[in-house]
Symmetry: C2
Subunit: 213 residues, 2 copies
DNA sequence: AACATCAAATGACTAACAGTCAGTAAATAA
DNA sequence: TTATTTACTGACTGTTAGTCATTTGATGTT
């Protein structure tokens, strides 16, 4: 009798519906200003039910982070397909990160915020741990490409793949973040031509990575 | 009769004492968990008085950001003294940023968090605007050094100083941030040897900046 | 069909906290 | 001494995260 299995499926579905509603409210009102009551209303459930599926508002936030991270990882994986060598793969990951920040600004924002949070709510939050691990996996993909690049001689062999991949990831995050900042008073973006800016960054990073000359 | 002037001075001092107390509580309990009641108690004032000096908890936070930014700018300015050319100055700013993150981790944390906040609470918060403007000034100093480096031929002349300085600042922030992250589960830092890591970064960035060879 | 069992959902309730404001105290001026 | 201005107070309000005793409804049993 597949009752239990069906129950399990339905539960998973409810969970996802709740995350959907949370996304709507979080992105509409901003993370701070969103309330659990609103999310409950959006999900057409009582607040109590929300807490049957998620331990806290923060856990719900981390579930969204996890989705965002999954999307990002997927875009990275997609981007490196059919690329001829490690260096090109590394560059295409950078490009994918930029595309992610522009194509899914809310998801990008969620990841940015999670990154700046104090170290490890992982203790008590299953979702936070999941999101962190996703970050590790993403970093692992980048590292794999750096290693590939060293092996196929497109990337300088003196570089340590571990250090280099973490450095590249950090640099990309920082560059994309500052690119999206706006100036006080005017509210104008710090960078007008984002494409030029990100290309300049790729070129700059190329000097550090590239093997030829 | 200098009563008004003295009053002004005393007011400024109270303000600073409140920020001192807020720092203590914020850093002790974490920014989210700190309460205005605790800060009031620490400052030996009533909560109502706090609100005579600061419009909100957030404004108090931004006042701390402003202090942190001031400290950072000071360290940047100090670090470039007696450096022989633009490239060395740029590098020493990077080093100062690293030193700041290690020497004043709470201030570093405050800046990191402020950076990840949604664009512009500047509208209504005087302190937020002040902190943002400080960021601009800091970036301006870096730009000045890049220009100096281009003029004294220590930095490649093809680089655009505006783009390059923003890029360097973003890269540094990102690299220092990821350097301080910890892994899920174990809680181990992602980077064991921070000095090696930051040196690798300087070397890497050097390839993009350096004029010779 | 009637009843028993169990999981899922509810919403009124509590606690905690940001922010307010009518009232008090203290300093200065008259 | 009295009047006026300024600084401060703390009880109060409104909001929101999180809880839990109770209800609803589905599934299985006789």
């Amino acid at each position: 009798m597949g009752t239990t299995e069906r129950r399990e499926r339905e539960k998973e579905q409810r969970r996802n519906e709740i995350i959907n509603s949370a996304e709507k409210v979080f992105f509409m009102k901003g993370i701070e200003n969103a309330t659990m009551d609103e999310i409950a209303e959006e999900a057409e459930l009582s607040k109590g039910t929300l807490y049957l599926y998620f331990k806290s508002k923060e856990e719900l936030f981390h579930a969204i982070c996890s989705r965002a991270g999954k999307k990002l990882l997927g875009m990275f994986e997609e981007s490196i397909k059919y690329k001829k060598n490690g260096l090109l793969k590394v560059k295409s990951i950078g490009q994918a990160f930029y595309d992610f920040s522009q194509g899914y600004p809310e998801y990008y924002d969620v990841i940015k915020r999670a990154d700046s949070m104090k170290i490890c709510d992982c203790e008590n939050s299953h979702e936070a741990k999941k999101a962190k691990e996703q970050g590790e996996e993403t970093l692992g993909l980048l590292k794999k490409c750096v290693i590939e690049g060293i092996n196929d001689r497109s990337i300088r062999s003196e570089l340590d793949p571990e250090i280099t991949s973490i450095m590249l990831y950090g640099m990309s995050k920082g560059v994309i973040q500052i690119m999206n900042e706006v100036m006080p008073e005017t509210g104008m973006p710090l960078i007008q031509d984002k494409k030029l800016f990100i290309e300049s960054f790729f070129e700059f990073a190329g000097y550090g990575l590239n093997n030829q000359k």
